[in-house]
Symmetry: C2
Subunit: 334 residues, 2 copies
């Protein structure tokens, strides 16, 4: 099997020149480049990528860390991130944290050891932010505050919460309920919580009672949602408007239809996220849709810029979620 030395000898150039041709970095005369390429082809030389990456101190891998790939939001996010990373010449490593912090620590170590070139953190885990303060490595946070040094990509969740509240108010709700992260107030700092604060405030401004019920962090376990939803109509018979994320919203709709609730007359529902599957229910659920594919491409662009040593000017990227009217709120002017 041919080595890089064989190629250099065959092309009558130095090993460094072959290296530059292989990496595409550094100046090589076009004529020389062609000569080297011809030798590579003739000797059927396959560079040992691991050795090469060790030489360049690059793994070519970006890790995307999420709570659970099976959750529709993260499935779409990871899907889109992989596509953009692939276009930019990077491979995608994934890690489900299942809300355990140890993986986060492990990946930070991997980053320090250059086993991965960069990390996109989409997990709501609970590592102390101070651990990130002194890190100068390519890390991008999705929907999470990791201190002032770590760039963040997120949606303007406060605006999203306001749109949801206004749509339920416009539809005539008098008594609403929203689902929030289980340990609200104690959990990790995420801008996603902003929507709950604004939702509550907006209801308060309109004199509408608003309950906030804690649920587990996003999970793909649908039996959990079904269990919660099955108790709702009994436990909260007076609620006429719900605000929840996609899988919970589907479970609420299923339970409400099973109990022959008239929708949207007796019960209104708005879902947050707007992942693929939510578009296939009947009645269609009114949704606040997050631009998941754009969140992914912005996160990838930031992490690749950091890896390539470019300055990252916009450290906070904030996109807009939009209302997609469905059949679970009142159409037009009620």
């Amino acid at each position: 099997m041919a080595t890089i030395q064989d190629v250099a000898k065959h092309a009558q150039v130095g090993v460094g020149t072959v290296s530059r041709v292989l990496s595409g970095k550094g100046y090589v005369k076009e004529e020389t480049r062609q000569k080297v390429q011809a030798s590579i082809d003739e000797l059927n030389y396959t560079p040992n990528e691991m050795a090469r990456n060790l030489f360049f101190q690059k793994s070519g891998i970006v890790a995307v860390i999420v709570p659970e790939v099976a959750h529709p939001f993260f499935a779409q996010f990871v899907n889109a991130a992989e596509m953009v990373l692939c276009e930019k010449g990077y491979q995608t490593m994934i890690c489900n944290t299942y809300y355990e912090q140890n993986y986060e620590q492990r990946y930070l170590e991997m980053l320090k050891r250059r086993r991965v070139d960069g990390i996109i953190f989409g997990a709501h885990t609970v590592l102390d932010i101070s651990q990130y303060e002194n890190i100068r490595l390519p890390i991008v946070a999705l929907d999470r505050d990791l201190g002032k040094n770590i760039p963040r990509v997120s949606v303007d969740h406060r605006a999203g919460g306001r749109i949801a509240a206004e749509e339920l108010i416009r539809s005539g709700c008098r008594n609403v309920l929203q689902f929030v992260g289980a340990k609200r107030g104690t959990e990790v700092s995420t801008p996603a919580n902003g929507r709950h604060d604004v939702f509550e405030e907006t209801m308060k401004q309109h004199g509408i009672p608003c309950r906030s019920i804690g649920v587990k962090w996003p999970t793909a376990d649908i039996s959990y949602y079904q269990t919660v939803a099955s108790r709702l109509l009994e436990d909260y018979p007076d609620i006429d408007g719900y605000f929840a994320t996609d899988l919970m919203s589907m479970a609420i709709l299923q339970s409400a239809l099973l109990h022959r609730k008239r929708i949207p007359e007796a019960l209104k529902l708005i879902t947050y996220d707007g992942t693929n599957g939510i578009g296939l229910t009947f009645p269609r659920i009114t949704a606040i849709v997050q631009p998941i594919e754009r969140l992914a491409s912005e996160a990838v662009q930031l992490v690749v810029d950091l890896i390539e040593g470019k300055s990252v000017e916009h450290r906070k990227v904030e996109l807009q979620a939009v209302l997609r009217p469905g059949d679970t709120t009142i159409k037009g002017n009620p």
Copy 2:
């Protein structure tokens, strides 16, 4: 920063002994192991993983190649595979092929260059099987025939197709339609097609007309399913039973409810796959449920066995799909 030589010197052993302690491979006296570990701790030695992996010719990475992670089946499969790989000490790399063969070729090259230790192929791409004939590398196929040398994990799809057909017949269907891969007969060999053959045969045996409509390979693009579903009721007014995969089934249900079809009286529906979200529709769709998590753990076990040089006795793992009765077929004896 401490090197492996520093650790060896400090523990008064050879570098090879430190290596064996780090890798956990080869015999080291317990007393010596503890001495080395104490030196590692005292010197705060962090092994350079890439250098170490180069030494052991191991990347510690398994690639999972699927058409599209955003598709519910593959989202669940990748999620479960990552979890089991993580338990076994491997990192998971993912690749969406979007049905293009070039990625398949690229990952085979990566495997040859030991950039990844193994591959789980879950993609229905179209590389010539002969390319796999002479490969003796850790590759496991999900739902796909890659020649006699590549172990395969799949479901007994023929049995799945029979169960679906019998359930529709039992429910009184007189005229059925199933959705099959777009280029049936010309596409890559996958045991998943077996369900369509058996579905058709079973209907034929009962004298029930059965149409087979070609659709795109699984995609997460729901607007595609909605477009197809929206035409169905008009184009095939006489069909009283459908057999489709999850997202298409949801789209059919949505369209049927929109057109006020009585379900299950006027229209029966059975879905194939039984991914998470399909459990949240109303009415609940009768499903043939694939054991996705077990498919993933079996695939991981096989690929890890191959990586570790163990003999893989059961080269074909075939699991069973099961019927989960819902509201879209007739309950009990009709």
